[in-house]
């Protein structure tokens, strides 16, 4: 896979409408060409399905992070309130963690949310290669305004397919 994109020059086709883009992506794929990337100014609904992208698993990751947060909160409250230094505070039972648990519900909840939200967003930034000062990933600045770009390796008959699909500009990079 990697060697084909390195040796073959890329073709960039610009579209000016999201509905045209969706149908173009379908046409390009139906004609047997492989799309390397699509740049859009906003989330175009149905584009991931048209491109055949797999579903994101980031929600599953968030769930796991939440479980970690809950575990940390249970450990923290058990160690500090029951194991290390149990104290009689307001007559609340501190013989074991389970009896004292109702008073810890807010902490358990907040820690779960804290871990799930923050670790998910860190994951999101890392897998997308987003960090302060990173170079813009879109080759053409118009794709954050109102243009949509399809990027794919050059191949025979590709230009004709792109022209037919409604591209307003085609350039070889």
């Amino acid at each position: 896979m990697a060697h084909s994109t390195e040796s073959v020059p890329l073709v960039r086709a610009m579209y000016h409408d999201d509905d045209v883009l969706i149908s173009a992506v379908k046409q390009i794929r139906a004609a047997g060409f492989k799309i390397s990337e699509v740049y859009t100014p906003f989330p175009v609904h149905g584009l991931d399905k048209a491109m055949g992208l797999k579903e994101s698993r980031i929600a599953l990751a968030a769930f796991m992070y939440g479980v970690i947060g809950l575990t940390v909160a249970v450990t923290l409250t058990w160690y500090m309130m029951v194991s290390d230094w149990p104290q009689n505070i307001g007559g609340k039972p501190n013989i074991n963690w389970a009896m004292n648990m109702p008073a810890f519900v807010p902490i358990l909840f907040e820690m779960t949310v804290f871990f799930a939200a923050h670790l998910m967003v860190w994951t999101y930034l890392v897998i997308n290669g987003l960090y302060p000062g990173a170079d813009a990933k879109n080759p053409d600045p118009r794709t954050t305004d109102d243009y949509f770009m399809v990027e794919l390796p050059a191949a025979k008959g590709l230009i004709e397919t792109l022209q037919k699909s409604g591209a307003v500009e085609i350039a070889e990079a």
Binding site: P41, F42, L53, E55, W85, P106, V113, F114, L130, A136
Partner: protein, 463 residues
């Protein structure tokens, strides 16, 4: 392609294209600040400096410079803390709860509402921080190993729950806001001409390129964050209310507090969103995006939550009578007819009576009226917290220790300082950040744009 019923009013007025949305959103960033902005910013800065001076005086001298006494140990600062946290709630409600309910009208207002959330939670945090007295030991609220044993923090205490709730709420709100801002900063970056500006927005936009996979993840992350933020926002004010509800003080020790506080928070938060957005709309000429319909929707939320708050007030009174506990009964009688009667009746007028006017469609679509009510509601909600806190404390079980509370000029100064700080932050935000979530708004242009809807309807009629 998804089309919307003709019954639904357009959410974006006029004949807009994607490019026109970009131009309209970026205009306040790319043009010089109007004179009114500088005037407002200067006033906010002066207020902020006064507050900073008052805080410096408090820290240097001690909490004794406030008007607190042995009977009323909690008053002005906690009132302001609860008031600011409550205001913050509307931002999360708009961006998270309305996202889960697929309310598209949120898209024009969620960015500013979330900014308001973050800036007001910052103000809220200042009050308990400086009420600690020795602010340089503020890190003691976190469970950090220490030389006293270790003597840990008390996880049974609602005050500690508050520390966890507020810090989770603030940081998760910032992250939620920023994830949405990244694509919009990229838009500003890609059209910036000034190299300094381009460099700043390059840093802020984290290199966003709008790749299809990144957008897919973006949508999933937004949905999960909304799902997490929804119970979070409800938990925050619930826990704030438990600061009071778990104390054995007549007037505080009631189970109605959590839902009653949450409703009040949404009520005051939406009022503050109205105040800010009516100004943003006017100054930046965003009338096509923040339409009368948006204003009306928010007024309906204010009316509904105001009514819930009214029912809660009456329920409290009924339960005090029905409980047969004379201390409880006296606490409420004292609220309405005691020395702080004026605070109680200000609260009743502002919070229970004034939102009922919104039943009239003519009034709730009137901008001047909406602006006035939004201020009135926030005054009322400030009085609500003052009434709950001070009137419950100032006459306790022992009549010999009954006393009154009045704030010192230092406390008033800190409160005015937070208002200045809040507006200074919001004014800076309005000049440098995209005030409308333009990437999100572009997704509804074809279904909810006025010209696009009309075109589709005219076209559809021919079939």
């Amino acid at each position: 392609m998804h089309y919307e019923s003709t019954e639904r009013k357009p959410l974006i007025l006029g004949d807009k294209s994607y490019h026109q949305i970009t131009e309209d959103v970026v205009r306040p960033i790319e043009t010089a600040a109007p004179r009114a902005w500088w005037v407002a910013f200067s006033i906010a800065l002066v207020m902020f400096l006064w507050g900073a001076g008052s805080i410096a005086y408090t820290v240097a001298t001690g909490i004794g410079v406030w008007g607190l006494n042995k009977t009323v140990g909690w008053a002005w600062d906690i009132t302001n803390f609860v008031w600011w946290v409550g205001i913050g709630h509307a931002g999360t409600l708009i961006s998270a709860v309305l996202l889960l309910f697929r309310q598209r009208w949120r898209m024009a207002i969620n960015r500013s509402a979330e900014a308001m959330t973050i800036f007001s939670v910052i103000q809220a945090g200042l009050f308990p921080l400086f009420h600690m007295g020795r602010v340089w030991l503020a890190y003691w609220v976190f469970p950090i190993p220490n030389q006293y044993g270790s003597l840990w923090v008390n996880f049974n205490s609602p005050l500690l729950w508050d520390v966890f709730a507020i810090s989770t709420y603030l940081t998760v709100s910032v992250v939620f806001w920023y994830v949405g801002l990244i694509p919009d900063f990229a838009m500003v970056r890609d059209r910036a001409i000034n190299p300094v500006q381009k460099h700043i927005y390059k840093i802020l936009s984290f290199g966003w390129g709008g790749k299809a996979k990144a957008w897919q993840r973006f949508e999933e992350v937004s949905l999960v964050l909304a799902g997490l933020a929804t119970p979070l926002v409800l938990s925050v004010h619930t826990i704030v209310s438990m600061d009071f509800a778990t104390s054995v003080i007549p007037g505080w020790h009631t189970t109605i507090f959590p839902p009653y506080f949450v409703a009040g928070a949404i009520f005051s938060g939406f009022a503050m969103v109205q105040t800010l957005l009516l100004i943003v709309r006017k100054v930046f000429k965003m009338d096509d995006y923040i339409t009368i319909q948006h204003i009306e929707m928010m007024n309906i939320v204010i009316m509904v939550t105001g009514s819930i708050v009214g029912v809660a007030y009456i329920t409290e009174l009924f339960i005090a009578w029905y409980s047969g506990v004379e201390y409880e009964q006296y606490a409420f009688l004292n609220r309405a007819t005691g020395p702080y009667w004026w605070a109680y009746w200000s609260m009743m007028t502002c919070n229970v009576f004034s939102p009922q006017l919104m039943w009239s469609k003519k009034l709730r679509t009137n901008l001047v009226f909406t602006f006035m009510i939004s201020i009135v509601v926030n005054i009322g909600m400030w009085f609500e917290r003052f009434v709950i806190i001070v009137t419950s404390l100032h006459r306790d079980y022992l009549p010999s220790s009954w006393s009154m509370f009045s704030p010192s000029f230092v406390e008033v100064g800190i409160f005015i300082g937070t208002i200045g700080f809040f507006f200074a932050l919001f004014l800076l935000y309005a000049r440098t950040f995209p005030v409308i979530a333009q990437a999100e708004l572009k997704t509804i242009l074809k279904t909810s744009g006025e010209a696009q809807k009309k075109l589709h309807n005219d076209h559809g009629a021919q079939h």
